[in-house]
Symmetry: C2
Subunit: 315 residues, 2 copies
């Protein structure tokens, strides 16, 4: 059932023993959403816990400050920023068919939850969580403001992407007034490169390939490049935006080789092509200008498939 | 005389035949300030004109849409985002001693103008100009909103730097509601790299040097690198922020060789060092975390001087 912010706040106000699920390969928006909601629930003296299939990258560790995250048998399960159950990773098995509430901003949401609060015009899921917490009447402390701000800034490329609305900016202003440390968070998210990442980035940009009259740019990250630079998949998050920064490029593809030689692709586009359509052709999904999909084949074969489909979509 | 926004709006309301001066080597904030003010003045049916010592980079050409910029003998001269008269370049000779009003946000402003509106807590000068235009009661159209938004986003590295306040975000939200095309402007300012710039960037990052326990990072741009990539100085604007992105770096220096083999340096720092202090030691200036200076010597000698002074400031 589709619900609105009021109804969502009412349900959360009534519930207790709540498990919050983030999507696998977590980013700042799913974690910011999850931890802000956890803090709000615990602020209302409810028992709440957060789970994610993958380890939380260390750069987000400030979100965990001062929270309890103890195991218990949940009465209610809430998924945040999770467009489809498969994105829960291995948690799908246990919880996939018992999600009581999903709070999401992906237009591609597969409506798997009993209750769905979907605001696809929100640039970040944290914009919705912010509204819910306000509707719940919980005091928003500095740490919660930090979590919410993190979601806003990471899902908008630091307020850069065209998905960013005046509401996104207004939320950011409010959160800064509530204590969010925007300078610190942005420095951590966008301004800090390890030397090994800088080395990977150089290899990646050196190997950039262009297709279809240079309207498609491809970055390829192989296991060999990880070895050579001492990096791993976690270090690749900042690479996809580089592909569409080259003048004239309409589709940017970042192909990452997995240990088993299959691969994943991050897709970035501008207005001319819907990234979710391209990802969707291979069973993936996402937003209009940022999406992703997986392949069971090697990088070269995946590249061929992606360029072929791109040709179709660029017409 | 130091004045406030009210008084500034009152003066501008009374004046006519106004010449607006931007600083040389113009950036988005001085141009956004200048063109927004020009549009506001012309919106009040005043004669106004804008002048800058250097050519306006083509990426800002949308600011010029639909304005008149005809020559006339000015009765009043207004400098925007100009910390000191030397930054006017060759315009200093004609106008340096007759600036009636300066609207600026640099704490280092040398108080050269008859009337000075200085708000050093504004992340961008356009925040101040926005307030003035509102105080003047002129309707802010889409094009003016675009100019003002450009200043906000360029002077804050797209709302990234710690100088960005909740007011900066609030201004951005208002300007988007007034029609500013944030997606388009940010794409143009931050997401569009020419292939030749991408090549220059690769050369620059390949040649990064580290000093003083890797707390200082230096990028060097030589005339040879310009030749090799088909770029020129105008293409280097996006390089300085790269220096301080490497983990552990506190001072980032970007040295650019000039045709006559002397050089300029852009300085980026974090909280631990005041960039304006480092630049000031060599006759330059700027903000706490972004400043610049010139040298009459070659790059290697300048580098030595800068690293020595950095050692002092890092203590």
């Amino acid at each position: 059932m589709k619900i609105d912010v009021e109804k969502c706040a009412q349900l959360l106000g009534e519930w207790d023993n709540i498990l919050i699920l983030c999507h696998a390969h977590p980013d700042g928006d799913t974690l910011g959403s999850g931890f802000a909601l956890l803090r709000a629930m615990q602020g209302l003296n409810k028992r709440a816990r957060i789970l994610c299939d993958d380890e939380i990258p260390s750069k987000y560790s400030y979100m965990l400050d001062g929270i309890k995250n103890e195991e218990f048998e949940p009465d209610y399960v809430v998924a945040v920023d999770v467009a489809t159950v498969s994105l829960l990773g291995s948690l799908q098995e246990t919880y996939g068919d018992r999600i009581n509430l999903c709070i999401d901003h992906h237009a591609t949401n597969t409506k798997y939850a009993e209750n769905l609060l979907l605001c696809s015009d929100a640039a970040a899921n944290c914009e919705i969580i912010f509204e819910i917490i306000k509707a719940l009447g919980v005091k928003i402390d500095k740490k919660t403001a930090d979590c919410l701000y993190t979601g806003l800034t990471t899902d908008t490329g630091c307020f850069r992407y065209s998905s960013t609305t005046s509401n996104t900016y207004r939320c950011a202003a409010e959160l800064i007034d509530l204590g969010a440390d925007n300078g610190y968070i942005n420095r951590l998210m966008f301004e800090t490169k390890t030397k090994k990442f800088a080395a990977l980035e150089r290899l990646a940009t050196q190997g950039m390939q262009f297709f279809l009259d240079e309207r498609v740019c491809v970055i390829t990250i192989t296991n060999e490049m990880y070895e050579q630079t001492g990096t791993d998949e976690q270090d690749t998050e900042a690479l996809p935006p580089l592909t569409r920064q080259i003048e004239g490029v309409e589709i940017g593809l970042t192909l990452r080789e997995k240990k088993d030689k299959t691969c994943k692709c991050s897709i970035r586009t501008f207005e001319s092509v819907n990234a979710a359509d391209l990802a969707g052709a291979f069973g993936g999904g996402g937003h209009k200008q940022a999406a992703a999909c997986r392949f069971d084949c090697d990088i070269e074969s995946a590249k061929k498939l992606l360029v072929e489909k791109s040709k179709e979509l660029l017409k």
